[in-house]
């Protein structure tokens, strides 16, 4: 909540003016029943028709003030809510992009998405509603009660006796409601997860004929959602009948007590009628308050979730220390690097190697041997727990992120394509020249299928590039990496969907067109890395071989094994000769 207030601080004048107008309009409305009582009790018996009409006009003026005051104030409130939300949401997005990889792993991407969407939406609603009703409802309740005291103090006490009950009911039910709605939200999350899972796995489910099982397990989740919703609904449903009942009983009591007061000449009949009007106003205001409570708790919970992200400490800032001695001449250098993603299990251990500018590096190793982790460390998505990583002669910690990452062109494992045109996907917001894009596409062997598309480079991809085949997607991604003519090109398992022939063509095109570029090729296939000047062989997070293909065939058992497994015994022997 503190967060929301700090964002609202900038608009305190605008809000004050708005709230003042709102209060003015609301108070004008409150005078209506009082004037009515005065007309019935004082003027009508005096038989003064002209005065009746004058006071009727006064009532009309009050009603108009109420109308315009509320409309103007509501609009001002909407503007404040809009401007606040705009800033809050933009800051949240910028911050989200700035989170370190470790931080976003902790939050998880789906949770960040829902914070950006539904949580900011809830806060938007809350800010608007708090301004619109947060002032109006208390004024109506307090003002309503206060004016009844002016009209008739004794009858007002009768009315006031009901208010504590109302308050208790509203608070108890709202509090209970918050708990129940949180449960419901959790149950709904479970349902969404189930549908998402089954959507992606429909082939497997059908193949294994597990539709009955899936239907049953959905039924269980469905029952849980229904149970939670019923419980929440039945609880929240108490509010209106009980509030109505309390106020109506209060009104009955007022009439009853009023009869005695009128009989003893302490009250007038018109006053009782004014009371019934105030009752209606107060009843509506109390119902408003109960709505505010639900809205406030929903918005408050969301604000907290947003604040968690915004207040996350800045991670991985550049370090400017004398201890970061530069090393020249080498493009990539690892010195005794160890790292783990947490869980206390190191993923890479004591990694040391170096690659010179213009050289190429192949990385090969078993599933889970830490190949992709090396990439994350080079890009400083994560920071080494021990040892140092140097890029272009400087410790990665000494770089600003933009400067460091500007040297790279990267295709990550499971990389992402946007729902945008082919050109926009290759360009990736870098405003590259048309020529650069076409050259990169040609080099990535993507020009063939792009030109065959009806709209060529302007063809649209659907979300995650679902309308392109796996091989086409990989070639687009490689084109993206090449288009910026990077110093270092990293291809992390990014040609697995390509057949050998295309893969080989692509490799030779890159070598030919990017002689200055340091190439890092991570692959499962030995044929994809054999060309490299240096090949790094990883096993269980450690280096078990480093050298050229020829050297490794002689010295590295693991490398030979991989070779054999892919090419069969004969060729391996043949190669040895």
């Amino acid at each position: 909540m503190k967060l929301v207030f700090s964002y609202l601080a900038r608009y305190k004048w605008r809000m004050s003016v708005g709230l003042f107008i709102k209060a003015l309009g609301t108070v004008a409305e409150l005078f209506l029943p009082m004037i009515m009582a005065y007309m019935i009790d004082e003027i009508a018996p005096a038989q003064d028709l002209a005065l009746l009409i004058v006071w009727g006009a006064v009532m009309l003026v009050c009603a108009l003030v109420a109308l315009f005051g509320n409309v103007i104030a509501n609009r001002m409130a909407s503007r404040v809510a809009r401007d606040t939300t705009e800033r809050l949401r933009r800051d949240l997005f910028v911050k989200t992009l700035a989170l370190s990889a470790r931080q976003s792993d902790e939050f998880t991407v789906p949770s960040l998405v829902s914070r950006l969407s539904s949580d900011t939406y809830n806060v938007h609603n809350m800010i608007g509603m708090m301004q619109r009703l947060g002032v109006r409802a208390p004024i109506l309740v307090i003002g309503g009660v206060a004016l009844t005291f002016v009209v008739e103090p004794v009858l007002a006490l009768v009315l006031l006796a009901v208010v504590p009950f109302l308050t208790v009911v509203v608070i108890v039910v709202s509090m209970r409601g918050i708990v129940l709605y949180t449960d419901l939200q959790r149950a709904v999350d479970g349902m969404v997860r189930k549908v998402r899972d089954d959507y992606t796995g429909i082939r497997v489910i059908k193949a294994l004929s597990r539709t009955d099982y899936e239907s049953r397990s959905f039924a269980a989740i469905n029952d849980r959602v229904v149970h939670c919703e019923t419980k929440a609904g039945v609880t929240m449903g108490i509010t209106n009948p009980v509030l109505n009942l309390l106020l109506n009983l209060g009104m009955t009591a007022v009439i009853l007590v009023g009869a005695y007061r009128v009989a003893s000449d302490n009250a007038l009949v018109g006053e009782i009628i004014a009371f019934t009007s105030y009752f209606t106003i107060i009843l509506n205001a109390v119902i408003m308050v109960s709505r505010i409570f639900v809205n406030y708790s929903k918005g408050g919970a969301s604000a907290k979730r947003i604040a968690q992200v915004l207040n996350a400490p800045e991670d991985l800032l550049p370090v400017r220390e004398a201890g970061l001695t530069p090393r020249t001449g080498e493009m990539i250098r690892f010195e005794g690097v160890s790292f783990g993603y947490g869980l206390g299990v190191p993923v890479v251990k004591d990694i040391s190697f170096s690659v010179r500018r213009g050289e190429s590096l192949g990385v090969i190793g078993a599933t889970g041997s830490g190949k992709s982790t090396l990439v994350s460390l080079m890009l400083r998505f994560y920071e080494a727990e021990a040892g140092k990583v140097f890029i272009d002669g400087r410790d990665v910690r000494s770089y600003e992120d933009a400067e460091l990452r500007g040297k790279f062109g990267v295709v990550l494992q499971n990389d992402f394509l946007m729902a945008a045109s082919v050109r926009e996907n290759i360009d990736f917001e870098r405003s590259l020249a048309d020529g650069a894009i076409r050259t990169a596409a040609a080099c990535a062997r993507a020009d063939g299928f792009i030109d065959a598309l009806e709209e060529g480079y302007e063809s649209e991809l659907t979300a995650r590039g679902a309308n392109f085949s796996g091989g086409q997607k990989q070639r687009l991604l490689i084109a993206r990496a090449l288009a910026g003519r990077p110093d270092i090109l990293i291809l992390d398992d990014s040609s697995s969907a390509l057949d050998y022939k295309t893969d080989a063509q692509l490799r030779s095109a890159i070598l030919e067109n990017f002689p200055e570029t340091t190439i890092v090729m991570i692959a499962q296939r030995i044929s994809s890395v054999r060309f490299a000047d240096k090949i790094l062989v990883l096993d269980g997070g450690r280096i078990v071989g480093f050298g050229s293909d020829k050297e490794l065939m002689k010295t590295c058992e693991v490398y030979r094994n991989i070779y054999r497994s892919q090419h069969g015994e004969e060729e391996a022997e043949h190669e040895d000769e």
Binding site: M36, I40, L116, Y199, I202, H567
Partner: protein, 587 residues
């Protein structure tokens, strides 16, 4: 032409409404009880103002206060109000239970329906779309049905009742109050005309923004790797501004409504007190009647003002219902033929006879495919990307049916078997691994109903994933989170291989089963794979030619046709396309 369209649209809307009502009338007794409760609770509530007016009249007598009458009316008021509140609470509980029953049924219907739909349906629709239908759309329908039907009917009873009461109290005052009705109607019409498109725009812009942030956050690392945070933030900013502006526009008009409705009420009050006082002055009206009249006039105008809101809600509910019914109406996989056979313990002889197929009618993926695999043989399918290899799997499992030709298993067309038994005869490991939210144990055990712990462990060991699982603090009960993020691609694939190992099927499909497993691990699991393949007819799809060299039959597919077929050595000797791609891996 246009009017025709409009009429059809109206007609379809009526049809949607009718279908919704059918869901309701499944619970006849509950619906009848709802009606009874609603009418009685509203009539009781309507008596209140009348009684309070009578009570006040009894106070305001020339002769002083008639206490007997006041007691009587007050007691009656208390009784009626209590009864009305109890009834209305019962009504809302009943209504919640009824609508929850309906929503539960509807959700289950949609989900069960989804499971019967052909896989092509899922290839066309996005996950978010389907999730929206099951959660958000059904919720919208429910919220509208449970609230709006009640409100419309309650409103109707209240309006008629209040009108009658006002006629009875004072036709002259009524004549004055009726003047405010056109104002209400005008506000209502104005609102629905100008605000509805604004609200529609508001949702659309917000959905666009949320879609954008979802998409961009899924590419978080790539954006960072390319240092594009600022550009992407600018784009977000633009969409954000659009979204909050649309929100504001809707609010701007929306904010008029509350005060306007209040104004109409207040204006009515001004008229009633002024004219009422004048009438009272001339002795044409009792003072308690002004009170009753005031209360009735508020009840009278309330529902009319609400009608605009309700119509908007009903519109969106009908649109949501249409989307829900869209799923329910989608054509399911074609029914099994009437006398379909159950395929049990197949020999495993598979034949393709002149099979022709395309996902779209005019784009042929497979032109004319014929081959035969004898029982226990291994058939490898190789060829360049996009040549239709995965399509063969879709046809074998009957995810799709061919447009021409036949596929036979044990000499019988696959279309003559029940789909369930046909699919049960296969086990498969696909290129896209699928793990669901649950424990590792549950994910492996999914391959066989009622798999024991020993079986799961044995399968994991055979797939060489047991060591990894046992190294986890929670072992087999470790959770697999969203899409299996905490497992590497290769580990996921090993899990699905373990799953397939549990299955007792006689036919096996391996679609790039080991593409994400490094070759050394692949070598390690080769034994297990060979055991898995033993005695089964296997279809192996692979890029890596090393994995298919021992196949009994290699089919080289190119542009939907088999261009070569034979054993590895024969194909190499022939020096055709196969030997060309084989050589490419050594270049």
């Amino acid at each position: 032409m246009k009017t025709n369209d409009l009429a059809r649209k109206k007609g379809s809307r009526r049809a949607v409404l009718w279908r919704l009502m059918k869901y309701f009338f499944r619970y006849k007794f509950a619906v009848a009880a709802v009606f009874a409760l609603m009418i009685s609770s509203n009539l009781l509530a309507l008596l209140g103002p009348m009684l309070s007016g009578q009570a006040i009249n009894a106070i305001d007598l020339e002769t002083g206060v008639d206490f007997d009458a006041v007691y009587r009316y007050c007691a009656l008021m208390a009784i009626f109000y209590v009864a009305s509140s109890v009834l209305s609470y019962l009504l809302s509980v009943l209504m919640i239970r009824l609508s929850q029953k309906i929503i539960r049924k509807m959700r289950q219907d949609v989900f069960d329906k989804l499971l019967t739909l052909p896989v092509g349906y899922f290839d066309r629709l996005q996950a978010g779309d389907i999730i929206n239908r099951v959660s958000y759309d059904i919720d919208t329908v429910n919220a509208s049905l449970s609230n709006d039907i009640l409100q419309v009917l309650t409103g109707f009873i209240t309006v008629v009742g209040a009108f009658a009461a006002m006629v009875w109290i004072s036709p002259i005052l009524l004549g004055v109050v009726i003047l405010t009705v056109p104002v209400s109607v005008w506000v209502t019409i104005k609102r629905s005309r100008s605000v509805r498109p604004l609200f529609r725009k508001r949702s659309a812009k917000l959905a666009e923004l949320n879609g954008f942030s979802e998409e961009m956050l899924s590419g978080l690392k790539t954006i960072k790797a390319y240092g594009r945070e600022e550009m992407i933030s600018h784009k977000f900013s633009d969409k954000n501004t659009d979204a909050v502006d649309a929100f504001y526009d809707a609010d701007y008009y929306g904010s008029l409504i509350g005060p306007a409705v209040n104004f109409v009420n207040n204006f009515g009050m001004v008229l009633i007190s002024t004219v009422g006082s004048v009438l009272y002055l001339y002795g044409r009206l009792l003072i308690g009647d002004i009170n009753s009249f005031l209360l009735y006039s508020r009840r009278f105008s309330g529902p009319i003002n609400e009608l605009a809101n309700i119509m908007g809600e009903v519109q969106s509910a009908l649109a949501a219902a249409e989307r829900v019914f869209g799923v329910l109406d989608a054509s399911p996989e074609r029914e099994d033929v009437p006398d379909a056979k159950v395929l049990t313990d197949p020999e495993g002889e598979v034949e393709f006879r002149n099979v022709r197929f395309g996902y779209l009618p005019d784009v042929t993926v497979i032109r004319d495919l014929s081959f035969r695999a004898s029982s226990g043989q291994t058939v490898a399918i190789v060829g360049p990307t996009g040549a239709g290899k995965t399509t063969l799997v879709n046809l074998l499992m009957r995810f799709y049916d061919p447009q021409g030709g036949n596929i036979l298993i044990d000499g019988t067309d696959v279309r003559e078997y029940t789909r369930q038994s046909l699919r049960a005869a296969f086990s498969m490991v696909l290129q896209d691994t699928w793990l669901f939210e649950g424990t590792i144990f549950e994910n492996i055990a999914y391959g066989k109903e009622g798999a024991t712990e020993e079986e799961v462990r044995a399968a994991a060991r055979a797939a060489h994933i047991a060591d990894y699982i046992e190294s986890l603090p929670e072992g087999y009960s470790a959770p697999v989170t969203d899409g299996g993020v905490n497992l590497s691609k290769g580990q996921k694939q090993l899990m699905t291989i373990a799953r397939a190992m549990l299955s007792p099927a006689h036919l096996l499909i391996l679609d790039e089963a080991t593409s994400n497993v490094d070759t050394r691990t692949e070598l390690l699991i080769r034994d297990a794979m060979l055991r898995l393949m033993e005695g089964k007819t296997c279809f192996v799809i692979a890029h890596r030619l090393s994995t298919v060299q021992n196949a009994d039959l290699i089919l080289v597919v190119r542009n939907g046709d088999i261009v070569e077929s034979g054993r590895h050595e024969e194909l190499l000797a022939a020096g055709g396309f196969y030997s060309e791609i084989y050589r490419a891996q050594f270049e």
